[in-house]
């Protein structure tokens, strides 16, 4: 899908192979995986546990370096980057929505976003207006923005998680099982939100999920099995 655009501003994985040591042999987590996601596209990846979904996210997030193949994020070849450059790439071009919301316990909802601004050398004070607007846009407004994670519901925490991932205006949004800790209704709301922000923010979004009932908002659904990626025909 839109190869040239994906390579320039979205996400592209080409013939990516990733193996892990497993006793005397090596276990193949990703077996010649190729994937291109264009800006504004939500791609869902389903598959059984241990099929390689999380490994794919980790490689796309530059948290793991593949044995071979090419990973291009927002036009940059991640394989050619040093560890320091890869960290900067995550800071500026990749947003990660974690499975558990993984919010920092000491920070309020709005401060979770301002911490990202501080990481990038920005002024938290100067970024507050934009952080509040972003939280508003994901459905967390008013006094709730000043609450810490333990004072928010699971759905609200996941909304903060999404807002934090979007705050640096990334070109790629990687979403790891966003509904695993939510009931069906709240899970559906979160997937709707992800689909909306993908369009509004023109992010190349990859969502890993096990919940097949929430896939109707995805532009494309792929199936991962034994480290291989294929079009899912059951959707």
């Amino acid at each position: 899908m839109t190869t040239a655009t994906a390579l320039s501003t979205g996400l592209a994985l080409r013939d990516v192979v990733l193996t892990f040591p497993d006793g005397d042999r090596r276990l193949t987590a990703l077996d010649s995986v190729s994937l291109e996601v264009a800006p504004g596209e939500l791609t869902a990846i389903v598959g059984p546990s241990g099929s390689g979904k999380s490994s794919l996210l980790a490689v796309a997030a530059t948290l793991l370096r593949p044995d071979s193949g090419q990973v291009v994020v927002g036009g940059l070849d991640a394989g050619s980057l040093s560890a320091r450059q890869a960290t900067a790439l995550r800071r500026t071009r990749i947003g990660i929505v974690f499975q558990q919301s993984n919010l920092l316990a000491s920070l309020t909802a709005v401060e979770q976003l301002l911490a990202v601004a501080h990481l990038s050398g920005g002024s938290p004070r100067g970024s507050r207006g934009r952080a509040e607007a972003l939280l508003d846009s994901v459905g967390l407004s008013g006094a709730r923005q000043g609450r810490r994670p333990h004072q928010l519901s699971g759905g609200e925490r996941q909304r903060v998680n999404i807002a934090r991932a979007l705050f640096a205006e990334p070109s790629v949004l990687l979403v790891d099982e966003p509904t695993s800790a939510l009931d069906h209704e709240r899970g559906a709301q979160i997937v709707d939100l992800l689909a909306d922000v993908t369009r509004e923010h023109a992010t190349a979004t990859v969502m890993v999920t096990h919940d097949r009932e929430l896939l109707d908002r995805a532009d494309r659904v792929l199936r991962m099995e034994d480290g291989r990626l294929s079009l899912d025909c059951r959707v």
């Binding site: 999380s54 996210l57 980790a58 997030a61 948290l63 793991l64 320091r84 960290t87 900067a88 790439l89 995550r90 800071r91 500026t92 990749i94 990660i96 974690f98 499975q99 558990q100 993984n102 920092l104 316990a105 000491s106 920070l107 401060e111 301002l114 911490a115 990202v116 501080h118 990481l119 990038s120 938290p124 810490r148 934090r164 991932a165 640096a168 790891d176």
Partner: protein
Amino acid sequence: MYVALRDIRFARGRFALMGAVVTLITTLVVFLYGLTGGLASDASSAVADLPVQSIVFGAPHGATPEVSFSDSGIDAAQQAAWQSALGAEAVQPLGIAMSRMTATGGATAVSVIGASAPLLPPLLSGSAPADGQVAVSRTTASDDGVTVGGTVTVGSQRLTVSAITADRSYGHAPSVWTTESTWQQVSGAQQPSALALTTAAGSGTAALDRAQNTDTVSRGAALAGIDGYSAEQGSLQLIQGFLFAVSALVIGAFFTVWTVQRRPDIAVLKAVGASSGYLVRDALGQALILLLLGTFTGAAIGLLGGALLSGGGMPFTLGAATVAVPVLAMVLLGLLGAALAVRRITSVDPLTALGANR
């Protein structure tokens, strides 16, 4: 330090507890520092404040000269040789002995210093003592009701008080000053304990030392010749050293536990693009805030307590160094302990934020 400051605010109980520990250790170190300085002054100010550069200790021919005011003695030949070589004005005999002074207002153990007028501490009233006269330190004079023109008994000698001097002491006994001749009568010694030189110890004095069987050391090094001085100071400094080591260990242990507890947060921050350098700076900033607050509070308490103690007669030196040195040492050693602890941040794998078991 965006996250660091909010961590302190969020976990204020834990940081307050740790800050209290830093405060208590700093208070203790400031107390010890002031006490060490006070005891040092109490044991040595009569020598430490002499307007000379070096002290010559002597021994009879055949014996090895030692840096010890108790064991040292300078015979007439040695004194004459030194005065002949350096000039009489540059070489002043110095006698030191312990005795007891009785006045109408009370009796006090005193250190009796036999020295010429140039070696006397500042005179607050009266004039330098002649033979049969004595100059008494201000506090002792005040405590015992001694005034210029009055009489006191030092040892078995009845002496007229010629002057009141600034406070000096030797061996934790207040000093009284008299002439060499009167000192010999009071102490029963036939020769001065040492020679005080207005020149520095060096190659010129080394040859004389060899020829005269003497040992010349700087005025500062001569303090080791005061009975018990080195042992007393060494003990107190050892305790200070232990306290500094304990503080570094305690801070290090706290930040080790704190860093382990924060591993999930650190993994998330790394995953969203925080560098290890950023996180280490953040954590060290947190440690610095804790240390500064703890040490400054501890120093203030130490100063206040020290002022109360010194007012009660305890030897305690209050000064900028009393506070600055312990505070600086506590902060630097605490940061060292914290740095050793937070280096674990560099080993946190951001992949664990995605749920990997690594």
